[in-house]
């Protein structure tokens, strides 16, 4: 006889399959068996149908397709005998599920079997119904199941109870039919029926408020009594598990009590005694006992307040936490997370132990503990906890680092009290696990750095040091590149040194090295490389000595296959080579990034108005809070040169990074720029002040047009602003609107009257060709602010055109440049240009003013650049 004909027994087929040495052999055996079964199916063979289906189920378990057997299940179910039905129902549950249309065909057979005289067949039908019934079947067969809840055999009653759960989950409307019969099951002594009845009641309570009310009124006492009985029952061998009678029943009872007691003081009161008994008397040296204690603790935490019980519960959790069994520690951590809302102090006491669990070798425990730590952090313990977490970050598993980093960053962000601490911690995280840090986290860090003006130097130096050791962490490199681009000079001249810092010596070329390494790293992605290019452009201006080298690096990307890089490279190269005169304007420091705008963008919504962050309000010379209702005023308000980043609607971070809006120009350009949503950065860069439509302005007219435009825009602003600003009478330079109109063009001595003590004028700068004189006056009511009127005189016989004066100050100062009275300086001292500067000294009385200047102009169309430093300011400014 052929061993693979349909005549083989199931056992033989399994043996044949197990004897296969290769997957190919196995497939061959299965193919033959399937072929035999198919032919038996088509011949409608009755004798071996259930054997064939059993084989098919085994084949199914091995992962082969067996859909052709589905109809066979239905035929078997419809046959008369128990063995056929048994395999038929088993096949139904394994090969089909509730979503198959075929299932509808079985409803009728099920109905018949639920009414069968053989209770074992009724059991089979209930089991199949409970495991796979669909909503339609639930509706059709609910009356049968409901009737079976009162069947004489407990085996059927318990199956019917669990079946009812499936039915009410599929069709919640049917719940009310089951409330009464379910309550009846609670009186049962048979554990199987009681436990399934309890489960049915629990599920009824979650689907129907009516059921909950009913059970609370009618059954609370009965359930309490059942728990008392089972807890006090003598040794029962049938249900005994390590010395405890039926822990599963204990747990179901406790769970049902939790639902009844939650939010109901009377019911809670009723169960206090038995809960106390279970919590104190249950043996805790075996898993079964601990399972009961665990459930009991959860019930105590959920029912209405009883402080005595809660102490008991917290103590149990404390014992769990110090248990040597990892499972017990795991559930303790799990439960402490829920206990934290009830009693934070009690959970805080276990902080040290919980922190140890974060370092456990078992990922499940680590994950729980980390989530718990996250909930435990508050203002008072954040520093020590963060320290521990970051220390652990160094040694943790790779697959845990992602979670740990995210949580640590979130803690640091949420609880940072001072910026230096925040920056320090973030740098540590970035150095340890920079590749796991999400983009929005390091974006936020840059915003914070940008706002912490006194920490720019410190940050850029720390980053420089960090990059030397952890140069492989992508996001660390990005932040470092951004900061070096912005604050590179502070790296070199050690400006803004903090007491805690060790001085380091970094040359311009060292700083450029960092960027060069970053851009050339093979793992750097486009964002990093683009950021590097921008940083290089910025540095080319800040480090004139490295300008050539930087140009060479940028030029290398002319041939980049990435279009973005190629374009930037060509654009920046042309900026460096051909647009010396505007380059320094282009690469001015970014204005302070507005935190509110930024976090608004982070949340996915753009703020409707430019918000007034604290930073901006403090910087107002007169200290008057700005009327936040008038965003336009903010934009036009010349008194704060760190106006928030215009809310250009693009989410393009790169655009922000570029710092398109140059400080001196930004406020004047405010109106036109903010409304622009274009993302072509370079277009913006090259067309300062020209409308965006003018896409390719010729080089020669850039400056003139820009300056003209600036003045005209400025004039317009002045005209428009007085009405909005009239409330701020003390605002400097806004004396009277008419005067303002003239202000830009001619010095107006009247303006400086009565402005406090007079200071002697100084010669700020003098060469053979140029002289600059500074006149000082104080803003009324604000001793920190000095108004400087600079007067430029041409000592050479040639006319200077395209005259631009620029100044930079250290971080403790804030500088605002008004537009100059003109850009052409007549020869031989025949005329002069004046320009107003407003300097706010945040260290007034401690430090005196200091300023660097750069003057560029054209003589006979040849560019001249002069630089100098002014140290001879009168004291006390």
């Amino acid at each position: 006889m052929n061993p693979f004909s349909s005549g083989t027994r199931l056992r033989d087929m399994i043996r044949a399959i197990r004897a296969c040495k290769t997957a190919a052999e196995e497939r061959a055996v299965v193919r033959k068996e399937c072929a035999a079964i198919r032919s038996a199916v088509s011949e409608n063979d009755n004798e071996y149908r259930h054997r064939n289906l059993a084989k098919l189920m085994f084949i199914h378990m091995l992962g082969y397709p067996t859909h052709f057997g589905q109809m066979e299940c239905l035929k078997l179910i419809a046959s008369a005998g128990f063995p056929e039905k048994r395999i038929g129902y088993l096949g139904l549950m394994l090969l089909l599920d509730e979503r198959q249309e075929v299932l509808m065909l079985v409803t009728n057979s099920l109905k018949q079997d639920l009414n069968h005289t053989n209770q074992y067949i009724v059991g089979l039908a209930l089991c199949a119904l409970g495991n796979i019934c669909s909503a339609e079947m639930a509706r059709d067969l609910a009356p049968e199941v409901e009737r079976l809840l009162q069947f004489r055999d407990p085996n059927i009653r318990k199956k019917a109870a669990l079946c009812s759960i499936r039915i009410i989950k599929k069709v919640p409307d049917l719940a009310e039919n089951f409330i009464n019969p379910a309550a009846g099951l609670l009186k049962e002594k048979h554990h199987g029926v009681l436990i399934t009845g309890l489960q049915l009641c629990i599920d009824l309570c979650t689907t129907s408020a009516e059921a909950l009310e009913y059970f609370r009124k009618k059954c609370t006492e009965a359930v309490v009594k059942s728990l008392k009985d089972v807890a006090n029952s003598p040794y029962a061998p049938e249900y005994d598990i390590s010395g405890i009678t039926d822990p599963f029943l204990h747990i179901r009872l406790l769970r049902f009590l939790r639902i009844l007691g939650h939010g109901d003081a009377d019911a809670s009161d009723c169960m206090n005694d038995i809960l106390a008994q279970v919590a104190t008397k249950t043996e805790s040296n075996k898993n079964a006992g601990n399972a009961i204690l665990y459930e009991c603790v959860e019930t105590i935490m959920s029912i209405e307040d009883n402080s005595g019980l809660r102490v008991l519960a917290i103590n149990i959790l404390g014992r769990f936490l110090s248990n040597r069994d990892n499972n017990i520690r795991y559930v303790a951590l799990n439960m402490l997370m829920r206990a934290i809302t009830v009693d934070t102090q009690a959970v805080q006491r276990h902080r040290a132990t919980i922190l140890e669990c974060v370092k456990d070798s078992d990922a499940s425990i680590r994950k729980r503990a980390l989530e718990l730590v996250y909930l435990l952090v508050n203002e008072s313990n954040v520093k020590s906890l963060t320290k521990e977490l970051i220390e652990y970050l160094e040694v943790s598993d790779q697959d845990f680092k992602g979670d740990l980093t995210a949580k640590t960053c979130s803690i640091v962000e949420k609880f940072s009290t001072d910026k230096i601490w925040y920056i320090d911690q973030m740098l540590k995280v970035l150095s340890e696990a920079g590749s796991f840090v999400k983009d929005e986290v390091w974006h936020a860090l840059i915003v914070v750095i940008s706002n912490a003006s006194n920490l720019h130097g410190y940050t850029v130096r720390s980053l420089y040091k960090a990059v030397q050791t952890s140069g492989d962490q992508e996001s660390l490199v990005r932040v470092a590149v951004w900061c070096i681009g912005e604050y590179g000079e502070m790296l070199v001249n050690n400006a803004g040194m903090l007491g805690i810092e060790e001085p380091i010596t970094v040359t311009e070329s060292d700083a450029v090295d960092v960027i060069e390494i970053a851009i050339k790293r093979h793992i750097s992605d486009l964002t990093t490389q683009a950021m590097c290019l921008i940083a290089l452009l910025k540095l080319s201006c800040r480090f004139p000595v490295c300008s050539e080298r930087i140009k060479d690096i940028i030029v290398q990307y002319k041939g980049s296959l990435v279009l973005e890089l190629q374009q930037r490279s060509i654009e920046f190269n042309s900026v460096i080579q051909k647009h010396q005169n505007i380059r320094s304007l282009l690469v001015e420091k970014m204005p302070v990034l507005d935190e509110a705008t930024y976090s608004g963008r982070r949340a996915g919504s753009l703020p409707a108005t430019v918000s007034t962050s604290n930073g901006a309000a403090i910087n107002l010379p007169n200290g008057v809070a700005k009327p936040s209702a008038a965003p336009l005023v903010d934009l036009l308000d010349l008194s704060s040169d760190d106006a928030p980043v215009p809310s250009s609607s693009g989410g393009d971070f790169l655009q922000d990074l570029l710092g398109v809006d140059l400080a001196p120009a930004s406020s004047q350009l405010g109106t036109s720029q903010t409304q622009k949503s274009g993302t072509d950065v370079l277009l913006d860069l090259l067309s300062i002040g020209t409308p965006p439509a003018q896409s390719s302005p010729s080089t020669s007219d850039i400056l003139s047009s820009s300056l003209d435009n600036k003045i005209s825009v400025n004039t317009l602003q002045r005209l428009s602003s007085p009405s909005a600003l009239s409330g701020q009478a003390s605002l400097p330079a806004v004396g009277s609107p008419v005067m303002d109109l003239l202000d830009g063009f001619a010095p107006n001595p009247a303006m400086h009257e009565d402005n406090g003590p007079a200071y002697p004028s100084i010669v700020a700068f003098e060469t053979n060709s140029l002289k600059i004189i500074f006149n000082f006056s104080k803003a009324p009511g604000n001793p920190q602010t000095t108004i400087i009127q600079a007067t430029f005189t041409n000592k050479s016989p040639n006319v200077y055109t395209d005259f631009i004066f620029q100044a930079a100050v250290p971080k403790f100062l804030q500088l605002h440049l008004d537009p100059a009275s003109g850009n052409t300086l007549a020869a031989s001292g025949d005329g002069s240009i004046t320009q107003d500067l407003r300097v706010t000294n945040s260290q007034h009385g401690k430090k005196s003013l200091v300023m660097r200047t750069r003057i560029s102009y054209k003589v006979n169309n040849k560019e001249v650049l002069e630089e100098g430093q002014i140290n001879n300011f009168p004291r006390g400014l």
Partner: protein
């Protein structure tokens, strides 16, 4: 509620798979593969609980066999651990000293026992004796 029960050997061969929620065949294979990967290399000292997607898997190893239950996140882990052990005791009793081969050759009986123990993802009977007796009665029906 129990979402599914898996019985797998160390090589990842599934010896029993019972799903109480509807899943596509391909999804079932994926789940079986993932659960095996999760549990097979865990240190015996570790917890018997692993988080799996939005649920958790309670598993226990007996010789070369892993019994895994996927349950809701709010369920009592310790109770399900005890539940696995009870199931193993029942199998052990029924097959008198159960081994993997018993489960392979009598897979349909294992399903039958399971259906007497758990139904619709909930525990049905907590008495080992009751289940063994019931199995005896059912075998008489054959």
């Amino acid at each position: 509620m129990i979402r599914f029960i898996l019985l797998q050997n160390r090589q990842g061969k599934t010896r029993l798979a019972k799903y109480y929620i509807p899943l596509e065949e391909s999804e079932k294979h994926k789940v079986e593969y993932e659960v095996h990967r999760l549990v097979v290399n865990r240190d015996p000292k570790f917890t018997n609980f692993v988080e799996f997607r939005t649920h958790k898997v309670i598993y226990r190893r007996y010789a070369g066999l892993f019994f895994s239950l996927c349950v809701d996140i709010t369920d009592n882990e310790l109770a399900y651990l005890e539940c696995i052990h009870l199931f193993v005791e029942i199998l052990d009793h029924f097959f008198s000293n159960v081994c993997e081969l018993d489960l392979v050759f009598n897979f349909h009986k294992v399903y039958l026992i399971l259906d007497e123990f758990i139904l619709a993802g909930e525990l049905q009977e907590t008495s080992k004796r009751a289940i063994i007796e019931r199995m005896g009665e059912l075998e008489k029906q054959e």
